[in-house]
Symmetry: C2
Subunit: 394 residues, 2 copies
Amino acid sequence: MSLKNKVAIIGVGCTKFGENFDLDYKDMLVESYTEALEDAGIGPKEIDAAWLATAFPDMAHYEGNSGSSLADPLNLFGIPTTHVTNYCATGMDAIRNAAMAVASGNARFAYIGGVEKMRDVPPRDSLIAQVVKTGHPVVGKGATAPGMFAMLETRYMAVRGVDRTPFAEISVKNHYNGSLNPKAHFGRPVTIDAVLNAPMIAYPLGLYECTPVSDGSASVIITTPEIAKSLKKDSILIKALTLSIDSGWNPQFDKSNQFLGFKSTQNAAGMAYKEAGIKNPHDEIDFAEVHDCFTITEVVNYEDLQFCPRGEGWKFIHEGHSTREGELPVNVSGGLQSSGHPIGATGVRMVYELVTQLRGKAGKRQLENVRVGLAHNLGGPGSVASVAILSRAD
Amino acid sequence: MSLKNKVAIIGVGCTKFGENFDLDYKDMLVESYTEALEDAGIGPKEIDAAWLATAFPDMAHYEGNSGSSLADPLNLFGIPTTHVTNYCATGMDAIRNAAMAVASGNARFAYIGGVEKMRDVPPRDSLIAQVVKTGHPVVGKGATAPGMFAMLETRYMAVRGVDRTPFAEISVKNHYNGSLNPKAHFGRPVTIDAVLNAPMIAYPLGLYECTPVSDGSASVIITTPEIAKSLKKDSILIKALTLSIDSGWNPQFDKSNQFLGFKSTQNAAGMAYKEAGIKNPHDEIDFAEVHDCFTITEVVNYEDLQFCPRGEGWKFIHEGHSTREGELPVNVSGGLQSSGHPIGATGVRMVYELVTQLRGKAGKRQLENVRVGLAHNLGGPGSVASVAILSRAD
C-alpha cells in the first residue's frame, strides 16, 4: 500500500493569497490553473481527470459544491471531476485521490484545483456554529478555533514549563519568511514585542499568532513518472502521501489522549515515513511546510512529525532549528500565518511551495541544497491530518 | 485507463429510505455499515480506507462535511476517509474514488458510506437558491429542479410528438416495482389515472412523476478480485465505473445542445461501454438502475444509455421493454421515484440493488437470470453523470 514513485508532479500554480476583492472564485481558479498548465507544458485537452478542493462552499455563494464548479470556468468538460472536502486538510486529500487515479492507470494527466473564497460573505452559519449543531462533546460547547488551540497552548505551557516566548518566535519566523514570498497574504515581518503585545484573540494566542481568513487558489498537475520523464520536465516525485482521521479533541473516543499533540498527525506521519522508507525524519527531510493555523500548532507539529523529541518542540524553534538558516527550515513560505489560509487551497499551496523549492525556483526565499520536502495539512478538531513527502526525480 | 476486473464488491447494506424520524444521520450510517460489514464477513479493523458520500451537509446540521462524520460514528479511526460531493451523482463518485484506491494497491478493503438526512431541517438556502447565487445563465434565473425537467419534458413532447402517457407509464412501472421493495420510501402502486390526475408540480410533471425528499443510507465494501476469491465470497466484479461532467443546461458553453438528453450521460455511458467491452448495450445489459428523478429523466436516459434508438425512449416504456417482464428491466427497485432519493446515498443504493439482484437475493423483486447490471447516477443541472457496469464473478 504505497504511492511511492508512482506519481510525478509536473505543473504547479498559485494566486496571491489575501483579500482578493477583484477576483471571484472562478477567477482565482482560472489563474492558478493557467499557471500550472503552462508550467506543465501540456494543453488543456490532455487533462483527463480532475479534483476540486473547496472546504466550505457556503462561503462562496455555494460555488465549489460539486465538480461542475471546476469544469465550468476551466472548460474541462467530458472528463470526471470529483469535489473533495476534509476540513482544513481538503487540499492534500484531493491530491491524494488524484494520485491514486494516476497510480491505478485511470488518469494520464490529473489536475487538482484548490480554491476558497472566504472574504466576500460570512458562511451561512459560522464554522463553529456548524460544529455546535453536531453535538460534539468538546467543540459542541461553542469553543472557537482560536479558543480550542489556546487551550492546547495553556496546557502545553503548564506541562512543559514554558512561557509564551517560543510561540511568539514561531510567529516572528513565519512572518519574516512570508516577507520574502510575493504571494503571501501578509508581506511584513513582525517583532517579538509586537507579537507578545498584540491584541489578544484567545489567551495566550494574540493576533499575530493566528492565521488570517484569506481568498486564494493553488493548482497541481500530476502524471506517471514515465510520462514526466518523456516530457523532459523538471518533475518532482511523490514519495508518500497519506491521510489519517482520528478522534481529535473528542474525549469520548480516546481517554488516553493527553491533549499535547495530534494523533492524526502522528499516524499520518508514521504511515508516510514507512511509505517513503524514512528512518530519521530530522536528518532525511530537508525542509517542511506544516500546518501552523496557530503558533502552538507548529510547535506540536514538530513533535508529532518527529522533527524533535516529544516535549521539545518549543526548544526546536527557540534554538533556531526551524528557521531558514536552521537544519530543518519550516514554513519558508510564511506558513498559514503569513501566507494566509484559503482552506481548500492551503494543502495544494504547500505542495506548490515544496515543488518550487525543490526545483530551485523560489526566488528570494529559495533554500539551498534541498532534495526532500514534507508537507503537512491538519483539519477539523485536530482530527484529520495528511502528510506528503516529495523529492527531486533526478 | 480502466477499472475492469480490478475491483470486487463483497458487502452491501441499505437502510429503509423514507421519513426516518427515529434515525439521525449517524444512526443511518451505522445501520447500513453494519449490514455491509456482516455481508462482507470481515471485521471493522480490516477496513483500511473509507469514502463518505453526502451531497448537502447543511441539511443535516453540517454532519457530512468531512471524513470525520464517517469516522466518529463508525469508530473508523487511524485510516483515511475522504468526503466526496458531486450533486446527485455523489454516491457513485465516492465508489469510483474508492475503486481507484483498491486498483492502485492503496487499500485492501475500502468502505463507502452514502448518507443524507433531508427531512429534519430545510437547507440553510434552498438548493435552487444556492444555484441562483452562482449566476448560472439558466438555472440561475430561479428555475426549480421540477421546473427544469418540466421544460425538458415539454420540449420532448413537442419534438417527439407524444403526450404525457409514456411518462405516466414510467411512474406506474416504478411505483409498482417499489411496492415489491421493503426498503422503498413509498410502498404503493399507482394507477395511470392517478398519475395523470395528480396535483401538478410543474407542468407536465405531476406529483407521482417526481422523486420524494428522503432520509437514508447505503453502504458498499470493495476489495481486489483476488482477495474476494480467497474469502470465497459471493462477489461481484466492477466491469466499468465512469464519471463525466458536461455543461448541462448551460447554453453559454455548448450551443449545439438540443436539450433532448444529457451529454454527461452519453459520455459516461460511452466510456463505460468501452471500458467493459460492451458493443450492444440493449442485448448485453440484463437490467439497470437509472436516475429517474423525474419521469422524463428515465425516458431520455433510455436514449442516452443506448437502450433504444434516439427519439424512441417513450416507445421503450410504452411497449413495455423496461418493465420487470421486459427484455431490459429498468429500476426494479422502484427507482428514485418510489425508493426515494437521499442524495448522497442514491448512487450507493443503486449499486446495492445491482449486487443484490446479481446474487439472486432480491426476494420478491428478484429478476431471473441476470448476470450483467448497469447503474446510472445523474446530478446537477444535468451536468454530472456516472455509469457503473457490474457482473457476477463466476
